[in-house]
Amino acid sequence: MTTPTTVPLTAALALGDDALVLSHRLGEWAGHAPVLEEEVALANIALDLLGQARVLLSMAGDEDELAYLREERAFRNLQLVEQPNGDFAHTIARQLYFSTYQHLLYAELAAGEGPFAPLAAKAVKETAYHRDHAEQWTLRLGDGTEAAHERMQRACAALWRFTGEMFRPVEGLDVDGERMESAWLASVGEVLGRATLTVPEGPRSGAWTAGAGRQGLHTEPFGRMLAEMQHLHRSHPGASW
Protein backbone atom coordinates (compact mmCIF):
# COMPACT_ATOMS: atom_id res chain seq x y z
CA MET A 1 0.00 0.00 0.00
CA THR A 2 1.15 3.49 -0.72
CA THR A 3 0.50 6.59 1.31
CA PRO A 4 -0.75 9.70 -0.50
CA THR A 5 2.60 11.43 -0.05
CA THR A 6 4.38 8.83 -2.17
CA VAL A 7 1.99 9.09 -5.12
CA PRO A 8 3.60 10.85 -8.06
CA LEU A 9 0.91 13.38 -8.82
CA THR A 10 2.02 14.24 -12.33
CA ALA A 11 1.95 10.61 -13.38
CA ALA A 12 -1.39 9.90 -11.68
CA LEU A 13 -2.93 12.88 -13.50
CA ALA A 14 -1.40 11.93 -16.83
CA LEU A 15 -2.70 8.36 -16.76
CA GLY A 16 -5.96 9.30 -15.08
CA ASP A 17 -6.70 12.01 -17.65
CA ASP A 18 -5.94 9.64 -20.54
CA ALA A 19 -8.48 7.17 -19.21
CA LEU A 20 -11.05 9.84 -18.34
CA VAL A 21 -10.92 11.59 -21.69
CA LEU A 22 -10.96 8.48 -23.86
CA SER A 23 -13.80 7.05 -21.79
CA HIS A 24 -15.75 10.23 -22.47
CA ARG A 25 -15.13 10.04 -26.20
CA LEU A 26 -16.21 6.39 -26.31
CA GLY A 27 -19.31 7.28 -24.30
CA GLU A 28 -20.31 9.61 -27.14
CA TRP A 29 -20.89 6.52 -29.30
CA ALA A 30 -23.85 5.37 -27.17
CA GLY A 31 -26.84 5.07 -29.45
CA HIS A 32 -24.76 5.67 -32.60
CA ALA A 33 -22.75 2.45 -33.03
CA PRO A 34 -22.79 0.60 -36.37
CA VAL A 35 -24.09 -2.63 -34.86
CA LEU A 36 -25.68 -3.57 -31.55
CA GLU A 37 -22.73 -5.68 -30.38
CA GLU A 38 -20.54 -2.57 -30.67
CA GLU A 39 -22.90 -0.59 -28.45
CA VAL A 40 -22.05 -3.16 -25.80
CA ALA A 41 -18.33 -3.39 -26.59
CA LEU A 42 -17.60 0.35 -26.80
CA ALA A 43 -19.53 1.01 -23.58
CA ASN A 44 -17.60 -1.77 -21.94
CA ILE A 45 -14.25 -0.24 -22.85
CA ALA A 46 -15.50 3.19 -21.78
CA LEU A 47 -16.53 1.76 -18.42
CA ASP A 48 -13.18 0.05 -17.87
CA LEU A 49 -11.40 3.30 -18.64
CA LEU A 50 -13.67 5.30 -16.38
CA GLY A 51 -12.96 2.84 -13.58
CA GLN A 52 -9.23 3.30 -14.10
CA ALA A 53 -9.64 7.08 -14.23
CA ARG A 54 -11.50 7.13 -10.93
CA VAL A 55 -8.76 5.17 -9.16
CA LEU A 56 -5.98 7.29 -10.65
CA LEU A 57 -7.61 10.66 -10.07
CA SER A 58 -8.45 9.64 -6.51
CA MET A 59 -4.75 9.00 -5.99
CA ALA A 60 -4.15 12.61 -6.99
CA GLY A 61 -7.05 14.25 -5.16
CA ASP A 62 -10.85 14.40 -5.33
CA GLU A 63 -11.96 12.68 -8.51
CA ASP A 64 -14.87 15.02 -9.23
CA GLU A 65 -12.98 18.20 -8.47
CA LEU A 66 -10.23 17.07 -10.80
CA ALA A 67 -12.57 15.99 -13.57
CA TYR A 68 -15.05 18.83 -13.41
CA LEU A 69 -13.28 21.88 -12.05
CA ARG A 70 -9.96 22.01 -13.87
CA GLU A 71 -9.49 24.23 -16.87
CA GLU A 72 -8.37 22.82 -20.20
CA ARG A 73 -4.74 23.81 -19.68
CA ALA A 74 -4.54 21.81 -16.45
CA PHE A 75 -5.41 18.48 -18.11
CA ARG A 76 -2.44 16.19 -18.73
CA ASN A 77 -3.88 13.65 -21.17
CA LEU A 78 -2.35 12.76 -24.51
CA GLN A 79 -3.71 14.69 -27.46
CA LEU A 80 -4.45 11.34 -29.09
CA VAL A 81 -7.27 10.46 -26.70
CA GLU A 82 -9.05 13.80 -27.03
CA GLN A 83 -9.35 13.51 -30.81
CA PRO A 84 -13.02 13.42 -31.91
CA ASN A 85 -14.52 10.02 -32.71
CA GLY A 86 -14.74 10.65 -36.45
CA ASP A 87 -16.08 7.61 -38.26
CA PHE A 88 -15.78 4.09 -36.86
CA ALA A 89 -12.38 3.69 -38.52
CA HIS A 90 -10.98 6.72 -36.66
CA THR A 91 -12.33 5.40 -33.39
CA ILE A 92 -10.75 2.00 -34.00
CA ALA A 93 -7.41 3.45 -35.11
CA ARG A 94 -7.31 5.66 -32.02
CA GLN A 95 -8.14 2.64 -29.88
CA LEU A 96 -5.52 0.44 -31.50
CA TYR A 97 -2.82 3.05 -30.97
CA PHE A 98 -3.84 3.83 -27.42
CA SER A 99 -4.68 0.34 -26.17
CA THR A 100 -1.41 -1.03 -27.51
CA TYR A 101 0.42 1.70 -25.61
CA GLN A 102 -1.66 1.32 -22.47
CA HIS A 103 -1.23 -2.43 -22.46
CA LEU A 104 2.55 -2.18 -22.70
CA LEU A 105 2.59 0.51 -20.03
CA TYR A 106 0.42 -1.35 -17.53
CA ALA A 107 2.27 -4.60 -18.13
CA GLU A 108 5.45 -2.85 -17.15
CA LEU A 109 3.90 -1.07 -14.17
CA ALA A 110 2.23 -4.28 -12.98
CA ALA A 111 5.59 -6.04 -12.99
CA GLY A 112 7.14 -3.36 -10.78
CA GLU A 113 6.54 -2.39 -7.18
CA GLY A 114 5.64 1.27 -7.57
CA PRO A 115 2.43 2.98 -6.47
CA PHE A 116 0.64 2.08 -9.71
CA ALA A 117 1.35 -1.65 -9.54
CA PRO A 118 -1.95 -2.70 -7.88
CA LEU A 119 -4.07 -0.75 -10.37
CA ALA A 120 -1.93 -1.88 -13.30
CA ALA A 121 -2.30 -5.55 -12.32
CA LYS A 122 -6.05 -5.27 -12.83
CA ALA A 123 -5.97 -2.84 -15.72
CA VAL A 124 -3.52 -4.87 -17.78
CA LYS A 125 -6.19 -7.56 -18.18
CA GLU A 126 -8.73 -5.00 -19.32
CA THR A 127 -6.33 -3.39 -21.76
CA ALA A 128 -5.51 -6.79 -23.28
CA TYR A 129 -9.15 -7.11 -24.15
CA HIS A 130 -9.34 -3.54 -25.52
CA ARG A 131 -6.30 -4.16 -27.67
CA ASP A 132 -7.75 -7.39 -28.97
CA HIS A 133 -11.05 -5.69 -29.82
CA ALA A 134 -9.24 -2.93 -31.73
CA GLU A 135 -7.05 -5.47 -33.50
CA GLN A 136 -9.99 -7.61 -34.59
CA TRP A 137 -11.73 -4.56 -36.04
CA THR A 138 -8.54 -3.31 -37.68
CA LEU A 139 -8.34 -6.64 -39.49
CA ARG A 140 -11.96 -6.48 -40.59
CA LEU A 141 -11.85 -2.88 -41.75
CA GLY A 142 -8.45 -3.25 -43.39
CA ASP A 143 -9.07 -6.60 -45.04
CA GLY A 144 -12.84 -6.45 -45.57
CA THR A 145 -14.08 -4.24 -48.39
CA GLU A 146 -12.15 -1.75 -50.46
CA ALA A 147 -14.16 1.17 -49.10
CA ALA A 148 -13.43 0.15 -45.51
CA HIS A 149 -9.76 -0.36 -46.31
CA GLU A 150 -9.50 3.21 -47.62
CA ARG A 151 -11.26 4.64 -44.59
CA MET A 152 -9.06 2.69 -42.20
CA GLN A 153 -5.90 3.69 -44.01
CA ARG A 154 -6.93 7.34 -43.85
CA ALA A 155 -7.75 7.08 -40.15
CA CYS A 156 -4.43 5.44 -39.32
CA ALA A 157 -2.59 8.19 -41.17
CA ALA A 158 -4.61 11.03 -39.64
CA LEU A 159 -3.85 9.95 -36.07
CA TRP A 160 -0.27 8.92 -36.66
CA ARG A 161 1.15 12.32 -35.71
CA PHE A 162 -0.29 11.97 -32.20
CA THR A 163 1.51 8.72 -31.41
CA GLY A 164 5.01 10.01 -30.64
CA GLU A 165 3.85 11.76 -27.50
CA MET A 166 3.05 8.48 -25.75
CA PHE A 167 6.70 7.64 -25.15
CA ARG A 168 7.94 10.95 -23.76
CA PRO A 169 9.09 10.68 -20.15
CA VAL A 170 6.48 11.49 -17.50
CA GLU A 171 7.64 12.58 -14.09
CA GLY A 172 7.07 9.80 -11.59
CA LEU A 173 6.46 7.12 -14.19
CA ASP A 174 9.24 4.62 -13.98
CA VAL A 175 9.15 2.99 -17.40
CA ASP A 176 11.56 2.56 -20.27
CA GLY A 177 10.05 4.78 -22.94
CA GLU A 178 12.42 3.76 -25.69
CA ARG A 179 11.84 0.08 -25.19
CA MET A 180 8.10 0.61 -25.03
CA GLU A 181 8.19 2.62 -28.23
CA SER A 182 9.96 -0.07 -30.20
CA ALA A 183 7.59 -2.71 -28.83
CA TRP A 184 4.68 -0.48 -29.78
CA LEU A 185 5.96 0.06 -33.31
CA ALA A 186 6.49 -3.66 -33.75
CA SER A 187 3.05 -4.56 -32.44
CA VAL A 188 1.09 -1.93 -34.34
CA GLY A 189 3.13 -2.61 -37.49
CA GLU A 190 2.35 -6.30 -37.27
CA VAL A 191 -1.40 -5.73 -36.89
CA LEU A 192 -1.53 -3.20 -39.72
CA GLY A 193 0.44 -5.61 -41.90
CA ARG A 194 -2.00 -8.45 -41.28
CA ALA A 195 -4.83 -6.05 -42.01
CA THR A 196 -3.21 -5.30 -45.41
CA LEU A 197 -2.72 -1.70 -44.30
CA THR A 198 0.53 0.20 -44.64
CA VAL A 199 2.25 1.79 -41.68
CA PRO A 200 1.84 5.58 -42.08
CA GLU A 201 4.97 7.44 -43.10
CA GLY A 202 4.55 10.88 -41.61
CA PRO A 203 6.28 12.23 -38.50
CA ARG A 204 5.03 10.94 -35.16
CA SER A 205 5.49 14.22 -33.40
CA GLY A 206 5.68 17.90 -34.28
CA ALA A 207 5.69 21.34 -32.76
CA TRP A 208 2.38 20.77 -30.99
CA THR A 209 2.63 17.05 -30.46
CA ALA A 210 5.98 16.59 -28.77
CA GLY A 211 4.56 15.82 -25.38
CA ALA A 212 2.25 18.78 -25.60
CA GLY A 213 -0.85 17.18 -24.07
CA ARG A 214 1.15 16.07 -21.08
CA GLN A 215 2.13 19.71 -20.62
CA GLY A 216 -1.42 21.00 -20.87
CA LEU A 217 -1.43 22.06 -24.51
CA HIS A 218 -4.42 20.52 -26.25
CA THR A 219 -6.23 20.62 -29.57
CA GLU A 220 -9.30 22.74 -30.30
CA PRO A 221 -11.96 20.02 -29.98
CA PHE A 222 -10.89 19.32 -26.41
CA GLY A 223 -12.23 22.62 -25.06
CA ARG A 224 -15.70 21.89 -26.40
CA MET A 225 -15.57 18.39 -25.00
CA LEU A 226 -14.78 19.77 -21.55
CA ALA A 227 -17.47 22.44 -21.83
CA GLU A 228 -20.06 19.73 -22.33
CA MET A 229 -18.62 17.43 -19.68
CA GLN A 230 -18.28 20.07 -16.97
CA HIS A 231 -21.28 22.29 -17.59
CA LEU A 232 -23.83 20.71 -15.26
CA HIS A 233 -21.42 20.12 -12.41
CA ARG A 234 -20.16 23.71 -12.60
CA SER A 235 -23.70 25.11 -12.76
CA HIS A 236 -24.40 23.91 -9.22
CA PRO A 237 -21.35 24.85 -7.14
CA GLY A 238 -21.03 22.75 -4.02
CA ALA A 239 -23.98 20.48 -4.80
CA SER A 240 -23.81 16.73 -4.24
CA TRP A 241 -25.11 14.34 -6.85
Partner: protein, 346 residues
Protein backbone atom coordinates in the same frame (compact mmCIF):
# COMPACT_ATOMS: atom_id res chain seq x y z
CA UNK B 1 -35.39 -30.48 -21.30
CA UNK B 2 -38.21 -30.97 -18.84
CA UNK B 3 -40.59 -28.55 -20.44
CA UNK B 4 -40.07 -29.93 -23.90
CA UNK B 5 -40.65 -33.42 -22.55
CA UNK B 6 -43.87 -32.31 -20.91
CA UNK B 7 -44.98 -30.71 -24.11
CA UNK B 8 -44.21 -33.91 -25.94
CA UNK B 9 -46.28 -35.79 -23.36
CA UNK B 10 -49.17 -33.43 -23.84
CA UNK B 11 -48.90 -33.88 -27.56
CA UNK B 12 -48.76 -37.65 -27.24
CA UNK B 13 -51.80 -37.65 -25.02
CA UNK B 14 -53.67 -35.50 -27.46
CA UNK B 15 -52.85 -37.76 -30.37
CA UNK B 16 -53.08 -41.03 -28.49
CA UNK B 17 -49.85 -41.93 -30.27
CA UNK B 18 -46.31 -40.64 -30.31
CA UNK B 19 -46.35 -40.30 -34.07
CA UNK B 20 -48.82 -37.59 -34.86
CA UNK B 21 -47.67 -36.53 -38.27
CA UNK B 22 -48.94 -39.62 -40.05
CA UNK B 23 -52.34 -39.73 -38.49
CA UNK B 24 -53.59 -36.26 -37.82
CA UNK B 25 -53.66 -32.73 -39.11
CA UNK B 26 -53.42 -29.34 -37.46
CA UNK B 27 -56.27 -30.02 -35.05
CA UNK B 28 -54.29 -32.56 -33.06
CA UNK B 29 -51.29 -30.23 -32.91
CA UNK B 30 -53.52 -27.45 -31.76
CA UNK B 31 -55.02 -29.64 -29.06
CA UNK B 32 -51.53 -30.51 -27.86
CA UNK B 33 -50.52 -26.86 -27.90
CA UNK B 34 -53.63 -25.86 -25.96
CA UNK B 35 -52.99 -28.64 -23.45
CA UNK B 36 -49.40 -27.51 -22.93
CA UNK B 37 -50.49 -23.91 -22.40
CA UNK B 38 -53.26 -25.01 -20.06
CA UNK B 39 -50.76 -27.09 -18.05
CA UNK B 40 -48.53 -23.99 -17.73
CA UNK B 41 -45.79 -25.67 -19.74
CA UNK B 42 -43.37 -23.68 -21.86
CA UNK B 43 -43.72 -23.70 -25.61
CA UNK B 44 -40.26 -24.14 -27.16
CA UNK B 45 -39.00 -23.07 -30.62
CA UNK B 46 -39.39 -26.49 -32.23
CA UNK B 47 -42.88 -27.09 -30.86
CA UNK B 48 -45.83 -26.61 -33.12
CA UNK B 49 -47.65 -23.37 -32.45
CA UNK B 50 -50.55 -21.54 -34.11
CA UNK B 51 -49.46 -18.99 -36.71
CA UNK B 52 -51.23 -16.23 -34.83
CA UNK B 53 -49.39 -17.15 -31.61
CA UNK B 54 -46.10 -16.97 -33.48
CA UNK B 55 -46.89 -13.64 -35.11
CA UNK B 56 -48.18 -12.15 -31.86
CA UNK B 57 -44.97 -13.11 -30.12
CA UNK B 58 -42.78 -11.78 -32.92
CA UNK B 59 -44.67 -8.50 -32.84
CA UNK B 60 -44.41 -8.22 -29.06
CA UNK B 61 -40.78 -9.32 -28.68
CA UNK B 62 -39.71 -7.12 -31.59
CA UNK B 63 -41.48 -4.13 -30.11
CA UNK B 64 -39.78 -4.84 -26.82
CA UNK B 65 -36.35 -5.16 -28.48
CA UNK B 66 -36.90 -1.96 -30.46
CA UNK B 67 -37.88 -0.19 -27.24
CA UNK B 68 -34.61 -1.20 -25.66
CA UNK B 69 -32.47 0.21 -28.45
CA UNK B 70 -34.52 3.38 -29.00
CA UNK B 71 -34.67 3.75 -25.23
CA UNK B 72 -30.89 4.12 -25.18
CA UNK B 73 -31.21 7.52 -26.85
CA UNK B 74 -32.94 9.64 -24.20
CA UNK B 75 -30.54 8.41 -21.54
CA UNK B 76 -27.40 8.48 -23.67
CA UNK B 77 -28.34 12.14 -24.11
CA UNK B 78 -26.93 12.69 -20.58
CA UNK B 79 -23.85 10.45 -20.54
CA UNK B 80 -21.54 13.24 -21.64
CA UNK B 81 -23.00 15.64 -19.06
CA UNK B 82 -23.35 13.39 -16.02
CA UNK B 83 -22.47 15.56 -13.01
CA UNK B 84 -20.17 13.14 -11.18
CA UNK B 85 -17.94 10.29 -12.29
CA UNK B 86 -19.91 7.83 -10.16
CA UNK B 87 -23.18 8.85 -11.85
CA UNK B 88 -21.50 8.71 -15.23
CA UNK B 89 -20.39 5.12 -14.63
CA UNK B 90 -23.87 4.10 -13.47
CA UNK B 91 -25.52 5.71 -16.48
CA UNK B 92 -23.12 4.23 -19.01
CA UNK B 93 -23.58 0.79 -17.50
CA UNK B 94 -27.32 1.22 -17.68
CA UNK B 95 -27.35 2.25 -21.33
CA UNK B 96 -25.06 -0.68 -22.05
CA UNK B 97 -27.49 -3.03 -20.29
CA UNK B 98 -30.21 -1.79 -22.61
CA UNK B 99 -28.15 -2.70 -25.65
CA UNK B 100 -27.66 -6.12 -24.04
CA UNK B 101 -31.41 -6.49 -23.54
CA UNK B 102 -31.90 -5.66 -27.18
CA UNK B 103 -29.50 -8.47 -28.04
CA UNK B 104 -31.31 -11.08 -25.92
CA UNK B 105 -34.66 -10.04 -27.28
CA UNK B 106 -33.68 -10.03 -30.95
CA UNK B 107 -32.23 -13.48 -30.32
CA UNK B 108 -35.47 -14.64 -28.70
CA UNK B 109 -37.36 -13.35 -31.74
CA UNK B 110 -34.96 -15.22 -34.05
CA UNK B 111 -36.08 -18.51 -32.47
CA UNK B 112 -39.47 -17.82 -34.03
CA UNK B 113 -38.03 -17.78 -37.52
CA UNK B 114 -37.31 -14.12 -38.15
CA UNK B 115 -33.97 -12.30 -38.29
CA UNK B 116 -32.62 -9.21 -36.57
CA UNK B 117 -32.09 -7.55 -39.94
CA UNK B 118 -35.68 -8.13 -40.89
CA UNK B 119 -36.94 -6.71 -37.60
CA UNK B 120 -34.64 -3.68 -37.78
CA UNK B 121 -35.86 -3.03 -41.27
CA UNK B 122 -39.44 -3.06 -40.00
CA UNK B 123 -38.48 -0.60 -37.28
CA UNK B 124 -36.68 1.68 -39.71
CA UNK B 125 -39.58 1.70 -42.15
CA UNK B 126 -42.17 2.30 -39.44
CA UNK B 127 -43.87 -1.11 -39.79
CA UNK B 128 -43.06 -2.02 -36.20
CA UNK B 129 -43.19 0.23 -33.19
CA UNK B 130 -41.34 0.85 -29.96
CA UNK B 131 -42.68 2.05 -26.65
CA UNK B 132 -44.09 5.57 -27.01
CA UNK B 133 -42.52 6.63 -23.72
CA UNK B 134 -39.21 7.17 -25.52
CA UNK B 135 -40.78 9.85 -27.65
CA UNK B 136 -40.58 12.19 -24.68
CA UNK B 137 -37.42 14.29 -24.22
CA UNK B 138 -34.89 14.18 -21.36
CA UNK B 139 -34.58 17.87 -20.62
CA UNK B 140 -32.60 17.86 -17.38
CA UNK B 141 -30.34 15.53 -15.42
CA UNK B 142 -33.26 14.70 -13.13
CA UNK B 143 -35.00 13.08 -16.11
CA UNK B 144 -32.41 10.31 -15.90
CA UNK B 145 -33.64 9.61 -12.37
CA UNK B 146 -37.31 9.89 -13.32
CA UNK B 147 -36.82 7.43 -16.16
CA UNK B 148 -35.16 4.97 -13.80
CA UNK B 149 -37.75 5.30 -11.08
CA UNK B 150 -40.94 5.64 -13.12
CA UNK B 151 -40.30 4.31 -16.61
CA UNK B 152 -38.20 1.34 -15.50
CA UNK B 153 -40.58 0.86 -12.58
CA UNK B 154 -43.53 0.65 -14.97
CA UNK B 155 -41.56 -1.62 -17.28
CA UNK B 156 -40.80 -4.00 -14.41
CA UNK B 157 -44.45 -4.09 -13.38
CA UNK B 158 -45.28 -5.04 -16.96
CA UNK B 159 -42.40 -7.44 -17.40
CA UNK B 160 -42.21 -9.49 -14.23
CA UNK B 161 -45.30 -11.50 -15.28
CA UNK B 162 -43.58 -12.12 -18.64
CA UNK B 163 -41.01 -14.28 -16.83
CA UNK B 164 -43.89 -16.80 -16.71
CA UNK B 165 -44.90 -16.22 -20.31
CA UNK B 166 -45.80 -19.42 -22.16
CA UNK B 167 -43.01 -19.00 -24.75
CA UNK B 168 -39.79 -20.36 -23.25
CA UNK B 169 -37.06 -18.23 -24.87
CA UNK B 170 -38.96 -15.02 -24.15
CA UNK B 171 -39.69 -16.03 -20.56
CA UNK B 172 -36.05 -16.89 -19.93
CA UNK B 173 -34.77 -13.65 -21.48
CA UNK B 174 -37.18 -11.76 -19.25
CA UNK B 175 -35.80 -13.30 -16.07
CA UNK B 176 -32.42 -11.73 -16.69
CA UNK B 177 -33.83 -8.49 -18.03
CA UNK B 178 -36.06 -8.02 -14.98
CA UNK B 179 -33.13 -8.45 -12.62
CA UNK B 180 -31.21 -5.70 -14.39
CA UNK B 181 -34.27 -3.47 -14.70
CA UNK B 182 -34.90 -3.62 -10.99
CA UNK B 183 -31.33 -2.51 -10.45
CA UNK B 184 -31.94 0.42 -12.80
CA UNK B 185 -35.12 1.30 -11.00
CA UNK B 186 -33.34 1.50 -7.66
CA UNK B 187 -30.54 3.58 -9.17
CA UNK B 188 -33.09 6.02 -10.57
CA UNK B 189 -34.79 6.25 -7.22
CA UNK B 190 -31.47 6.86 -5.50
CA UNK B 191 -30.57 9.57 -8.03
CA UNK B 192 -33.84 11.37 -7.30
CA UNK B 193 -33.33 10.93 -3.58
CA UNK B 194 -29.98 12.73 -3.82
CA UNK B 195 -31.65 15.57 -5.73
CA UNK B 196 -34.64 15.66 -3.39
CA UNK B 197 -32.30 16.11 -0.45
CA UNK B 198 -29.99 18.46 -2.31
CA UNK B 199 -30.12 22.19 -2.98
CA UNK B 200 -33.46 23.91 -3.69
CA UNK B 201 -32.48 23.98 -7.37
CA UNK B 202 -31.86 20.25 -7.39
CA UNK B 203 -35.15 19.58 -5.62
CA UNK B 204 -37.01 21.70 -8.16
CA UNK B 205 -35.27 19.86 -10.98
CA UNK B 206 -36.42 16.51 -9.54
CA UNK B 207 -40.01 17.69 -9.07
CA UNK B 208 -40.16 19.05 -12.60
CA UNK B 209 -38.96 15.76 -14.01
CA UNK B 210 -41.51 13.74 -12.04
CA UNK B 211 -44.24 16.14 -13.13
CA UNK B 212 -43.38 15.51 -16.77
CA UNK B 213 -42.83 11.72 -16.59
CA UNK B 214 -45.69 10.62 -14.33
CA UNK B 215 -48.55 10.59 -16.83
CA UNK B 216 -46.58 9.16 -19.74
CA UNK B 217 -45.44 6.38 -17.38
CA UNK B 218 -49.06 5.48 -16.61
CA UNK B 219 -49.72 5.32 -20.35
CA UNK B 220 -47.00 2.67 -20.68
CA UNK B 221 -49.48 0.02 -19.52
CA UNK B 222 -51.42 0.55 -22.71
CA UNK B 223 -55.03 1.52 -23.34
CA UNK B 224 -57.79 0.66 -20.86
CA UNK B 225 -58.79 -3.00 -20.92
CA UNK B 226 -61.97 -2.41 -22.93
CA UNK B 227 -59.97 -0.69 -25.70
CA UNK B 228 -56.98 -3.00 -25.87
CA UNK B 229 -57.13 -4.87 -29.18
CA UNK B 230 -54.76 -7.78 -28.51
CA UNK B 231 -55.23 -8.37 -24.81
CA UNK B 232 -57.87 -11.13 -24.63
CA UNK B 233 -56.12 -13.54 -26.98
CA UNK B 234 -52.73 -12.90 -25.36
CA UNK B 235 -54.20 -13.65 -21.95
CA UNK B 236 -55.66 -16.90 -23.25
CA UNK B 237 -52.27 -17.89 -24.65
CA UNK B 238 -50.58 -16.93 -21.38
CA UNK B 239 -48.31 -14.51 -23.19
CA UNK B 240 -49.95 -11.91 -21.00
CA UNK B 241 -50.98 -12.67 -17.44
CA UNK B 242 -52.64 -9.52 -16.12
CA UNK B 243 -54.75 -6.84 -17.74
CA UNK B 244 -53.43 -3.35 -18.53
CA UNK B 245 -55.60 -1.73 -15.89
CA UNK B 246 -54.62 -4.24 -13.21
CA UNK B 247 -50.93 -3.58 -13.80
CA UNK B 248 -51.44 0.18 -13.93
CA UNK B 249 -53.20 0.09 -10.57
CA UNK B 250 -50.42 -2.02 -9.08
CA UNK B 251 -47.86 0.54 -10.31
CA UNK B 252 -49.73 3.52 -8.86
CA UNK B 253 -50.04 1.76 -5.50
CA UNK B 254 -46.28 1.10 -5.45
CA UNK B 255 -45.31 4.66 -6.45
CA UNK B 256 -47.38 6.69 -4.02
CA UNK B 257 -45.43 5.81 -0.85
CA UNK B 258 -42.14 5.98 -2.76
CA UNK B 259 -42.92 9.54 -3.89
CA UNK B 260 -43.54 10.46 -0.25
CA UNK B 261 -40.17 9.06 0.77
CA UNK B 262 -38.54 11.07 -1.99
CA UNK B 263 -40.19 14.24 -0.74
CA UNK B 264 -41.78 14.73 -4.16
CA UNK B 265 -45.40 15.02 -5.18
CA UNK B 266 -47.18 13.22 -8.00
CA UNK B 267 -48.96 15.64 -10.35
CA UNK B 268 -52.51 14.31 -9.87
CA UNK B 269 -55.00 16.19 -7.66
CA UNK B 270 -57.36 13.18 -7.75
CA UNK B 271 -54.82 10.78 -6.32
CA UNK B 272 -56.04 9.41 -2.96
CA UNK B 273 -56.29 6.18 -1.03
CA UNK B 274 -59.62 4.37 -1.42
CA UNK B 275 -60.19 2.34 1.72
CA UNK B 276 -63.02 0.38 0.19
CA UNK B 277 -61.09 -0.76 -2.86
CA UNK B 278 -57.82 -1.14 -1.01
CA UNK B 279 -56.16 0.84 -3.83
CA UNK B 280 -55.35 4.41 -4.77
CA UNK B 281 -57.84 6.19 -6.97
CA UNK B 282 -56.23 8.33 -9.61
CA UNK B 283 -57.20 10.89 -12.23
CA UNK B 284 -58.20 10.39 -15.83
CA UNK B 285 -55.37 9.71 -18.27
CA UNK B 286 -55.23 11.90 -21.37
CA UNK B 287 -55.70 9.14 -23.93
CA UNK B 288 -55.85 11.65 -26.75
CA UNK B 289 -52.19 12.42 -26.03
CA UNK B 290 -51.36 8.71 -25.92
CA UNK B 291 -52.87 8.04 -29.35
CA UNK B 292 -51.35 11.19 -30.77
CA UNK B 293 -47.81 10.23 -29.67
CA UNK B 294 -48.41 6.70 -30.92
CA UNK B 295 -49.36 8.08 -34.33
CA UNK B 296 -46.00 9.86 -34.55
CA UNK B 297 -46.81 13.29 -33.17
CA UNK B 298 -44.86 13.11 -29.91
CA UNK B 299 -42.07 15.55 -29.15
CA UNK B 300 -39.27 13.21 -30.25
CA UNK B 301 -40.70 10.58 -32.65
CA UNK B 302 -38.97 12.11 -35.64
CA UNK B 303 -35.69 12.68 -33.82
CA UNK B 304 -35.49 9.14 -32.41
CA UNK B 305 -36.14 7.51 -35.76
CA UNK B 306 -33.78 9.82 -37.61
CA UNK B 307 -30.94 9.01 -35.22
CA UNK B 308 -31.68 5.27 -35.40
CA UNK B 309 -31.74 5.23 -39.20
CA UNK B 310 -28.64 7.37 -39.41
CA UNK B 311 -26.66 5.11 -37.07
CA UNK B 312 -27.75 2.11 -39.12
CA UNK B 313 -27.01 3.70 -42.48
CA UNK B 314 -23.69 5.17 -41.41
CA UNK B 315 -22.70 1.78 -40.01
CA UNK B 316 -23.49 -0.10 -43.21
CA UNK B 317 -19.91 0.01 -44.51
CA UNK B 318 -18.66 -1.41 -41.20
CA UNK B 319 -21.08 -4.34 -41.30
CA UNK B 320 -20.24 -4.94 -44.96
CA UNK B 321 -16.53 -4.99 -44.18
CA UNK B 322 -17.06 -7.49 -41.35
CA UNK B 323 -19.12 -9.75 -43.61
CA UNK B 324 -16.55 -9.53 -46.42
CA UNK B 325 -13.74 -10.34 -44.01
CA UNK B 326 -15.66 -13.30 -42.64
CA UNK B 327 -16.29 -14.59 -46.13
CA UNK B 328 -12.59 -14.32 -47.00
CA UNK B 329 -11.36 -15.98 -43.84
CA UNK B 330 -14.00 -18.56 -43.05
CA UNK B 331 -12.86 -21.03 -45.70
CA UNK B 332 -16.30 -21.14 -47.28
CA UNK B 333 -18.37 -21.03 -44.14
CA UNK B 334 -21.49 -18.93 -44.25
CA UNK B 335 -20.93 -15.23 -44.34
CA UNK B 336 -23.46 -14.08 -41.79
CA UNK B 337 -21.03 -14.32 -38.90
CA UNK B 338 -17.67 -12.75 -38.49
CA UNK B 339 -15.38 -15.32 -37.05
CA UNK B 340 -13.61 -15.36 -33.76
CA UNK B 341 -14.81 -12.22 -32.03
CA UNK B 342 -18.44 -12.62 -32.95
CA UNK B 343 -18.25 -8.87 -32.84
CA UNK B 344 -20.86 -8.25 -35.45
CA UNK B 345 -23.41 -9.79 -37.72
CA UNK B 346 -23.89 -8.77 -41.27
Amino acid sequence: MATAAAHETARTQAYGTGDATDTTGTDAYETAFDAAVAADERIEPRDWMPDAYRSTLIRQIAQHAHSEIIGMQPEANWITRAPSLRRKAILMAKVQDEAGHGLYLYSAAETLGTSRDELLDKLHTGRQKYSSIFNYPTLTWADVGAIGWLVDGAAITNQVPLCRCSYGPYARAMVRICKEESFHQRQGYELLLALGRGTPEQHAMAQDAVDRWWWPSLMMFGPPDDESPHSAQSMAWKIKRHSNDELRQRFVDICVPQAESLGLTLPDPDLRWNEERGHHDFGVIDWAEFWDVLKGNGPCNEQRMTQRRRAHDEGAWVREAAAAYAAKHSGGRQTGETGETGATRA
